[in-house]
Symmetry: C2
Subunit: 507 residues, 2 copies
């Protein structure tokens, strides 16, 4: 057993080295699959050691860049450090790091934005090229070499299976209670060998608790004792509380109409302030016996699980604040019975999401009056984070909600626009849009009725007359009246914002 | 047994009435679920009788409109007649009738464009309202009341299950060989009662050959002897043959690289000239043991099945020309062993498409340089047909192809544009784009490299310099360089076409 007491396999314990030495196994031009999902379970030491080495090599005038694949977003120690060192040639499938985002939007770094359920399949399919190295954080290693996953599972199974060389970070900061909370499914395959995924409830186990990796592929083991990102938790603001209120009222209405069972259907909830507010709203509602089939367990969901109002949650990662982490530690023995973490190819699998009938709730950057949603691009060209799992869930959900405050940038941006500047979710996949102004149930409505409802229910009063004016003129002048548009001014709100700093006309 | 010899159930034989009397069961305001998918298996007599009655009622100054749900497109006898009589209030989920399209685009008829796999679920979920009447064509009725489906299955199971009243059309024109070719799955449910669909090969049976319906719900049976639409078959033109050549060469390359098995993976192929040309191209290739998991069996696929180059095909409908129909009749005994028709909720189910690893090939109206695809709207506002099943297949495919000639309207329209005027398939779901100019394999490429490849490989030479000019200026001037765009002119090709009749600048 090595220093941390977390490595119980003798062969792997002998491979413990400093992070600098482990980073030496990564070469210029390599593709590196790293762990990490929403700031949880990412390697903390090796990426920083790699970034230092890259800087040294660059200082000597030589090139050194790698392709970085992960589960989803990581943290400054990984994306931030490597991007700052100009060490990333290509990044996929999701990022949210400011340094990285800036490089991507200046055209200095390549980024492929991928549905999170598609990543493992793409890696196996082969067109992305080989995976040279995996750098995966685990929370322990059993006596027979089983890898106890960390606070996220993400694509770790695939990285360990596909990589030529494996570097493990064993992080003793991670809660020992994680041991046994994972369900790693080893039944995936390439077609035509694929079989049904026999999962019918969020709390069902179909796999094993540990990741596996042939000992001889492990080139280095690094011990760490470092916290996850655990960013601060902001209490819900008025807009978020109003959005939550509309969602809860709508769900109560659906239950009353017999269209959704009293315990609802498994919830999927994106990350952030609005999502936490909706979960808090459910926490003070009359719903009981809730479940979740989602990507991340965040603070709001931990609260529901702690009180027992939510009886089980399946995800691929935690994404907790400092306070959430403290709560998890204090209540770990209860919570570990109610939470399962799975690979993201299962947490986000269309097959399972459709079968379970998930109620999906995701944020957006902007929606247009017909209900097309932009989740990724600011003003059509600047990537914000990425589509993440929102497409996996929205397309296959029983009801697909998108939530947003009706304005951004202090009112200079309307999140309801005539035409979105980029589309990630088409009108076909967007059922309900909610702002603090109200909720528009777009299900079963043709385009013109969608527009009328969205403008009246969701747009901010400052922008509502402008949207009405656009829509009414389009209704008269558009060459087609199925989805009336005036193409010459459909994107004028965006160009006005870019030129004048506001979507509102001057004066 | 009634006149046609196709009704072997005594109770139902006693319900035979003229179409006019059967149409009398449909009332103003009713929602009517009709059979029909790509011009096959739609009711021929009752919709026309209904259209006549609607015209009479309108002539008397009274209102009479119904909501019409189908599988997909039908024919003049259904959509054409009812639209011409101004009898349709709302239509879903797909149409391709010129009269109907004109009414929709003039704002005189409501249309909801739905993923074909979503329709049955939406009907069961309840928010569309009740289904009053089902009008379903069958090809026969067994002694114990089993309904032998016709040349399409579509949503018939759901309509028969959900409707209050059922009208059957028994069409003796349909081939007796259809009996036994269907696989109707009765295992669907609403969540949380949904279970895995245990289908792992296109030729596997998971259901029963006949539809069922309680006898007391059947209010009328009508006998017909009328052909399906069976539109003419155009021999592939040069552009279609060139597209087919690129697709076949690409598939050979993928097989050579070991990324696709030698017998390929199950094919999905849209309808039309290009799709038939691709199938013809496969017919003269070296591929053997092909399979299909698709929506429709069209002429090109019948050829592959007839020669044995394709060993099995699963679909929800036929869509044959006169010649194709003649061939089917002549070779029915062989073909019926190689073809299965299923409900469209199974033929198009994300779960099954993803599992089988379908190679999906669909047409498009336009694609932009980043690979976003518009399948439905001409110049952003006029609906053409609908998204159909293209989204079900493109999102879940192993490789998603979109094919199109590089220009339309005699060169006045480029099908590769700076920004599409409507999005049905986002960059995340589009893997390969093919025109007669060439093939762009966009897999694993970030946006700028997608744009460069698409412009060079797929755009028509008349438009290539204009696209390069847009893209290069966007690269310099766009506020973000992840997906460079100049929003003020992104849709200018469309506005120029609307104003001047061509996307090419004058002079």
């Amino acid at each position: 057993m090595a220093g941390s007491g977390r490595i119980h396999h003798r062969g792997l314990a002998r491979k413990v080295v400093p992070a600098e030495e482990a980073a030496g196994h990564i070469r210029h031009g390599d593709t590196v699959g790293m762990s990490g999902f929403t700031g949880a379970g990412y390697p903390k030491a090796v990426p920083q050691a790699l970034a230092r080495r890259i800087s040294d090599v660059h200082a000597a005038g030589d090139p050194f860049r790698v392709n970085v694949w992960t589960g989803a977003s990581t943290a400054p120690e990984l994306d931030g450090a490597l991007a700052a060192a100009d060490g990333i040639e290509l990044r996929l499938p999701y990022q949210s790091d400011p340094v990285s985002r800036d490089k991507i939007n200046r055209g200095l770094m390549e980024y492929i934005d991928v549905h999170l359920s598609h990543v493992a399949q793409m890696a196996w399919e082969g067109f992305l090229g080989p995976l040279d190295v995996a750098v995966v954080e685990v929370s322990g290693i059993t006596t027979d070499g089983g890898l106890v996953p960390s606070s996220s599972v993400g694509n770790n199974k695939t990285w360990l299976d596909r990589a030529d060389r494996v570097v493990l970070e064993v992080n003793s900061w991670q809660s020992p209670a994680l041991d046994g909370m994972h369900d790693v499914y080893y039944g995936t395959a390439l077609p035509p060998a694929r079989r049904p995924i026999q999962l019918t409830r969020p709390d069902e186990r179909i796999g094993v608790p540990y990741l596996r990796c042939p000992e001889d592929k492990v080139v280095a083991v690094v011990e760490t004792d470092s916290p996850d990102r655990n960013s601060g938790f902001a209490a819900p603001d008025d807009a978020s509380r109003a959005i939550a209120g509309h969602v809860v009222e709508f769900l109560e209405h659906e239950v009353a109409r017999g269209r959704v069972p009293p315990e609802l259907l498994p919830l999927q909830s994106g990350v952030g302030n609005v999502a936490n507010a909706v979960l808090a709203g459910l926490g003070s509602s009359s719903f009981e016996g809730l479940t979740a089939y989602t990507e991340v367990i965040q603070d709001g969901m931990l609260d529901l699980l702690g009180t027992g109002r939510m009886v089980s949650a399946s995800a691929t990662a935690f994404s907790l604040s400092h306070e959430g982490m403290t709560r998890f530690d204090a209540e770990a023995q209860i919570l570990r019975e109610r939470i399962l973490l799975r690979p993201q190819e299962i947490s986000n699998h269309p097959e399972v999401i459709r079968r379970l009938g998930v109620l999906a709730m995701n944020g957006l950057i902007e929606a247009d009056v017909y209900g097309n949603v932009n989740s990724t691009h600011v003003m059509g060209s600047r990537i914000q984070n990425g589509i993440g799992g929102s497409g996996d869930f929205a397309r296959n959900a029983y009801i697909s909600f998108f939530t947003t405050p009706s304005t951004a940038k202090g009112g200079a941006i309307s999140t309801i626009v005539p035409m979105v500047s980029h589309v990630d979710h088409t009108e076909h996949d967007v059922a309900v849009i909610v702002t603090e102004q109200g909720l528009a149930d777009l299900r079963g409505l043709p385009p013109r009725r969608r527009a009328e409802l969205l403008i009246e229910r969701c747009a901010h009063p400052d922008y509502r007359p402008l949207l009405r004016d656009y829509y009414e003129r389009a209704l008269r002048e558009s060459p087609g009246r199925h989805t009336p548009h005036l193409l010459a001014e459909a994107l004028s709100w965006h160009t006005r914002y870019l030129a004048e700093g506001s979507m509102l006309p001057a004066g």
